[in-house]
């Protein structure tokens, strides 16, 4: 009887009354209760919070007093020193201050793309799932067409059309969002259809609530959780994609600073001078890590059956 995984079958009997200290509450306040006690959420939150502050006020962190634009070729590829905490790059620019100033692009592209796709995909998914019939057929087919395009290649294509001269944060957000909304639509649509057939929605309908009210008051709050989970996870993917596109030269353009661009610049001399590549790479990974941690925690909180 010691084989726990196999005889792992009888669910523990649920206490008939909810436990006193924890009030019976909605999914949201329950989720918040769990999140506040989850170390993964706290660590991820602190890390992301710090990065957001860095991206909003990079000047605060420029303690060495080195502007990202003051470079001197004589100082190229110097190692770590008191003046250059992270060394200098191929053009003799201070890597530390460039890394600090590069946070802005990653954070903005990630958050804006996640919000845009969440709103657009969410709204369209709500319509498709709620109205069904031709609305669903039309939206789902269009989504399927966009969905079949490999995302990095598609974004590469779109950014090439927009052209380097117009490339910037806005165009990267556009390219990424254009290809990512169908995923959110699918998820929203599926959870709306599930919610639509729940008894309480049937009951609301039987009591004469109008379609608008049913959609916004009864279905949306109960269907939105998976969209929030996936949007959080997407946030990390968007940050990685921005770095990749900038690395390939179609994303953010110099003199703007992006970690992807820094990696591209440091690439040629990487094997002899790895530091100018490794520091932006480290920050890129830490940023994504913080978002992934938040995403994991949110998913666990909103989807307790996986625990």
């Amino acid at each position: 009887m010691s084989n726990d995984t196999l005889s792992a079958t009888a669910p523990a009997p649920q206490p008939a009354k909810p436990v006193k200290e924890k009030k019976p509450a909605s999914l949201w306040s329950d989720a918040w209760y769990d999140l506040r006690r989850n170390p993964v959420f706290i660590i991820g939150g602190i890390m992301l919070g710090l990065l957001v502050i860095i991206s909003a006020f990079p000047g605060l962190f420029d303690t060495v007093g080195v502007e990202p634009s003051t470079c001197s070729l004589a100082q190229a590829r110097k190692g770590i020193s008191a003046e250059h905490w992270f060394g200098t790059d191929n053009l003799g620019c201070d890597v530390y201050s460039r890394v600090i100033h590069g946070a802005k692009v990653s954070i903005i592209v990630g958050i804006v793309s996640a919000v845009v796709t969440g709103l657009v995909g969410g709204a369209l998914g709500l319509l498709a799932g709620f109205f069904g019939r031709w609305v669903d057929v039309l939206l789902s087919r269009v989504a399927e067409i966009f969905f079949a395009i490999p995302s990095i290649l598609g974004a590469l294509l779109i950014l090439a059309v927009i052209g380097r001269d117009n490339a910037g944060i806005a165009s990267v957000v556009l390219a990424l969002s254009l290809l990512a909304w169908p995923m959110i639509l699918r998820i929203m649509r599926a959870s709306v259809i599930t919610a639509k057939h729940q008894d309480y929605v049937m009951a609301a309908r039987a009591l004469g609530a109008g379609p608008g009210r049913i959609m916004m008051r009864h279905i949306l709050p109960n269907a939105v959780a998976p969209v929030i989970v996936v949007s959080t996870i997407n946030l990390g993917a968007f940050i990685a994609a921005e770095a990749a596109l900038s690395f390939l030269g179609v994303g953010i353009q110099s003199p703007q600073i992006s970690w992807g661009l820094m990696i591209a610049d440091a690439r040629n001399r990487f094997l002899e001078a790895p530091l100018p590549l490794l520091f932006p790479a480290l920050f890129l990974s830490l940023t994504i890590l913080s978002v992934v941690m938040l995403g994991d925690a949110v998913r666990d909180a909103l989807d307790p059956k996986l625990r």
Partner: protein, 345 residues
């Protein structure tokens, strides 16, 4: 191919009258995040060959957990069995090795579950699932196993068994699926069959057919039958004796007709009174008031006292033992005599 270590157990000969299956002072608890849930608190019952015992109780009363402990399919952890014995032909199964235990499970003690749709594997044919018993436990060939499967499906009266043996569970109706479940459980002629709410998920008409089938199979093979249910109406025709469970304890046990005629515990009485009867048409239906107890925060004294219409002061403080009324009856109520006489209230 019975397990020799069991039949040659010294106690079996010495005692002589040892029943086929005996649950003795069994305790089961679950370790949860909120604390320890005591799901079963000292349950004892016995079943003999050819005898059928109905275990009656609400959900959370511990009746299913007891059955799962007998089968050895409890999840441990979080479950654990701090005390008690489960003796099969005199041998305490809780002391057996995993190996010896799995020789009993499915072959000598079998179980059928409530929801046959989820209890049958969706990706294998019903024939495969029934014949698996013969292939794995009896080393039969695929072909012979399938023949046996068809025979069994005939025996539980599934029409056109030969044609349907290669169908998947989702292609059958609820009643037919439960028959397949039964066929699978009786495949190796078990000595004890545990049926955990076998008819709860079915239509009323189908319920009667399944109960009839179970009763018939039991008569033919002289099995011991443990019928777990929350529905008093189901058991009257099939069971010989009844054990009523409440909050992890047996509160009353009795031969079935005695209990129906004169219940000796307020809870059994309440259950009987809440069965709708034709002669009471027009009257308000009786219902036991209050909610089942919270297993994490059990009431003091008699666990039923907050819901008991006959509650006295000492019910709140003293836990009633299972008083013996006669050789075959017992009640865990301080005032069972008054309940029996109908003088309480």
């Amino acid at each position: 191919m019975k397990n020799p270590s069991i039949d040659t157990h010294p106690l079996a000969d010495e005692v002589g009258h040892e029943p086929l299956l005996a649950v003795d002072n069994l305790h089961v608890e679950f370790v949860t995040r909120q604390g320890i849930v005591r799901a079963v608190n000292g349950v004892s019952y016995t079943v003999n060959a050819g005898e059928s015992l109905a275990v009656l109780g609400e959900s959370g009363s511990g009746k299913s957990v007891t059955a799962q402990a007998i089968m050895g399919i409890l999840d441990m952890p979080p479950a654990r069995i701090p005390k008690g014995e489960i003796r099969f032909r005199g041998t305490d199964m809780l002391k057996l090795s995993d190996q010896a235990r799995s020789q009993i499970r499915g072959q000598r003690i079998a179980m059928i579950f409530q929801d046959a749709l989820s209890a049958l594997n969706p990706v294998f044919t019903v024939g495969w699932q029934i014949s698996e018993m013969f292939r794995v436990h009896r080393g039969m060939s695929k072909r012979d196993g399938m023949k046996k499967a068809i025979e069994l499906m005939d025996r539980v009266r599934i029409p056109a068994a030969k044609q349907r043996v290669n169908d998947y569970p989702h292609q059958f109706s609820g009643g037919m699926r439960q028959r397949i479940m039964i066929a699978m459980s009786i495949a190796l002629d078990p000595e004890v069959l545990i049926a955990d709410e076998p008819t709860t998920a079915l239509d009323v008409t189908v319920q009667a057919q399944i109960m009839e089938l179970l009763a018939e199979l039991q008569r033919e093979s002289n099995m011991g039958l443990i019928l777990i249910t929350h529905d008093l109406g189901v058991v009257a025709d099939v069971a010989d004796k009844i054990a009523v469970m409440y909050a992890g304890r047996i509160v009353e046990h009795a031969p079935v007709h005695d209990l129906y005629k004169t219940p000796a515990h307020p809870y059994s009485k309440g259950l009987l009174d809440s069965i709708p009867r034709v002669d009471q048409k027009g009257q308000e239906l009786y219902a036991i008031k209050g909610l089942p107890p919270n297993l994490l925060d059990m009431p003091s004294g008699c666990a039923f006292h907050p819901r008991c219409p006959y509650r006295r002061d000492n019910c709140v403080t003293d836990v009633p033992p299972l008083y013996e009324i006669s050789g075959t009856r017992g009640s865990a109520c301080h005032y069972y005599r008054e309940v029996l006489d109908g003088t309480l209230g």
